[in-house]
């Protein structure tokens, strides 16, 4: 009988092997992070492994290193503004792509998703050349335009995914019950696609905060972001301060994800 196959054997020798494989894969992916973490506490004078002793001096150095502090400020301002813009643009674009049939639909879709496929270095080069005559190099506007271009595909993708699983008759039902377009969007559509929108926003924030190539081309001299400062720092000095900084950055990213998850999770539980 074919049904017999549905019963799994009690001991499957593939299982422990699979577990080991997964463990090794994780180890491989996380090893660089672990090393950075260890090195950030190492007293070695230069960036190297294994550690010779334990110290907190690299962390103590960070607030005094003005390039890092300035870079952090620029990066945060950029990431926050980019996230806001990209949500304000990306969600309507995704809605239009999902809900309307129009002639240029395929073209619009590929246009907004194309930055994912083009190497950032090519984009960055194009932007420098374009921004020159517009006086946008070394300005917030320039960096933000660049970051919006590379992060908007994420928001559109995650929002489209949420939209694909929603029942459009919910919106129709709300309209029949007397809701105008804006009320329908605010009270029905947005809450339903909220998980996709938030996920897109978080990814956009992290990608922008992390972005080095475009920032380097567009604003290296005038308005260096944190990743640019890190690159510069590593060029000139070889101590473990960057490792300490990296750990801080990882913790910030983690904190964003955890906070969002908590807030969302909480809200869901309360509803």
């Amino acid at each position: 009988m074919s049904e017999a196959r549905l019963f799994k054997p009690r001991f499957n020798p593939a299982k422990p092997a699979f577990g080991i494989l997964v463990f090794l894969l994780y180890l491989f992916l996380l090893a660089p992070l672990l090393i950075v973490f260890v090195v950030s506490f190492a007293s070695n004078q230069y960036l190297s492994f294994p550690p010779e002793g334990l110290t907190f001096k690299w962390y103590e150095m960070l607030p005094e290193e003005s390039t890092f502090v300035n870079g952090m400020r620029v990066s945060l301002i950029v990431a926050v503004i980019v996230t806001a813009i990209v949500l304000a643009l990306g969600v309507p674009v995704a809605l239009a792509l999902d809900r309307f049939e129009f002639k240029a639909k395929a073209a619009v879709q590929s246009f907004f998703l194309s930055p994912l496929l083009i190497p950032s270095i090519v984009l960055a080069l194009g932007m420098v050349l374009l921004f020159g005559p517009l006086n946008l190099n070394n300005t917030y506007t320039g960096i933000i335009i660049g970051h919006v271009a590379i992060t908007i595909p994420f928001v559109i993708r995650t929002t489209l995914m949420s939209l694909a699983t929603t029942d459009t008759s919910c919106e129709a039902a709300a309209r029949i019950l007397g809701a105008g377009s804006w009320t329908v969007f605010r009270r029905i559509t947005l809450p339903i696609i909220q998980p996709g929108v938030i996920a897109g926003g978080v990814i956009a924030f992290i990608v922008s905060f992390d972005e080095a190539v475009i920032s380097l081309f567009v604003a290296e001299s005038g308005l260096p972001t944190l990743p640019v400062q890190v690159l510069r720092y590593v060029e000139n000095s070889a101590d473990a301060a960057v490792a300490a900084l990296s750990v801080i950055l990882i913790l910030i990213s983690l904190a964003v994800v955890v906070v969002v998850e908590r807030v969302m999770g909480l809200r869901k539980a309360l509803r």
């Binding site: 008759s169 129709a172 019950l177 007397g178 339903i192």
Partner: protein, 370 residues
């Protein structure tokens, strides 16, 4: 002329230029308090019609009048309708109470009034105890009732139901059929009910609009469309039917409801009595006889009978269907079952009927070109 609650005048929808219209010059008058079923096979334009009445879709032509006011171009959120979707379309991020209250909030009803009416609507569908439940914690039947409560709580001008029972299992469908009908009668909500299930339509509706290819083939009471189908399509779609081409020879008297008795001749089988609209003499019409209205006798009996041979017997416990071959035709008939001997394939059978059960379709059959 009594004012109807809803008038649909020459309503037409063409999805794209060049395509056949999905709804083609549809006309319908619905009385206050009636439940009207839009009945027809899939793709005949039922949903399109309903969505135009709801305002979710603009008609290509024609008009919709409710309570004497033309609403053809009134925006959907200003029409004050209530609709239950096939998928129920409950708001997944709100609980039961919030779902039902939504329409009242849109109408700026006071908080206390909202509370009272939501409770009333939930009681009406017997789900008062679930008011704080999340939508996804409800069964299909419960979601259906909440959707109904949400539509009715606003006291809609029209209640629109698009195949509300098709996602339920057979048992629950029967229960909900009765329940929806009784709630509809209690609230006297004028209702359009889309379905492709003729039993549902016959059981629930005051009037049935039988649709086919974007047209209404017939609009009438359940007994009208069942007993007096206007077209072959209607006779076939609602219940089963035998069709026999009959030449109408002469009138033999007047029948009830303005109809006329006729003598007809059926090729190769003889002359019989039938009934139909006045003025059919001289042309050929299709004669419709329901299988259970055919008397089957195993001995020759009387004169106006069709003699044949039983070709097939289907025993379902309650009934016995037999296929009787007479000449080159096969007729379906039903017999009461008994615990005694049952007829078998190969037995001789003699079919007869009451004159008023043999109905001539009003439109003549086109004579084959000689």
């Amino acid at each position: 002329m009594t004012e109807s609650k809803l008038s649909i005048v020459d309503l037409t929808k063409r999805y794209a230029a060049g395509l056949d219209p999905a709804v083609d010059r549809l006309n319908m008058e619905v009385e206050e308090g009636h439940l009207v079923a839009l009945l027809g096979p899939s793709g005949c334009g039922k949903t399109t019609t309903l969505r135009m009445v709801a305002g979710l879709m603009d008609p290509t032509a024609g008009s919709i009048v409710v309570d004497g006011k033309e609403i053809t171009h009134t925006p959907v959120n200003k029409r004050g309708m209530g609709m239950v979707f096939q998928s129920y379309a409950l708001f997944p991020h709100m609980n039961v109470e919030q779902n039902v209250a939504f329409g009242l909030q849109m109408r700026q009803t006071s908080k206390s009034e909202q509370k009272r009416r939501v409770a009333g609507a939930l009681d009406m569908v017997q789900l008062g105890h679930l008011s704080k439940r999340q939508v996804k914690e409800l069964s299909g039947g419960q979601q259906q009732r909440i959707a109904l409560a949400r539509a009715l709580v606003v006291e809609p001008t029209l209640l629109l139901l698009d195949e509300p029972l098709s996602n339920l299992d057979a048992k629950l469908r029967e229960t909900m059929r009765t329940e929806i009908r009784s709630i509809q009668q209690r609230t006297r909500a004028t209702t359009l009910f889309v379905t492709h299930d003729q039993d549902e339509a016959l059981d629930m509706a005051d009037r049935i609009a039988v649709m086919n290819g974007g047209l209404i083939e017939q609009f009438g009471s359940p007994t009208d469309v069942y007993e007096r189908p206007r077209t072959r399509f209607v006779a076939n779609f609602i219940g089963q039917a035998n069709f026999l081409n009959a030449r109408v020879l002469s009138e033999t008297g007047s029948a009830a409801k303005g109809e006329t008795h006729y003598r007809v001749s059926i090729d190769g089988l003889g002359q019989f009595g039938a009934v139909g609209a006045p003025g059919l003499t001289g042309s050929t019409h299709e004669l419709v006889i329901r299988p259970h209205r055919l008397r089957v006798s195993l001995q020759p009996a009387g004169t106006e009978t069709i003699a044949g041979v039983i070709e097939r017997v289907n025993y379902t416990g309650d009934a016995l269907s037999v296929a009787v071959k007479a000449g080159d035709r096969v007729l379906q008939a039903q017999m009461p079952t008994s615990s005694g001997d049952l007829p078998r394939a190969g037995d001789a059978a003699y079919l007869s009927w009451n004159e008023q059960d043999a109905y001539l379709l009003p439109t003549p059959v086109k004579e084959p070109a000689a």
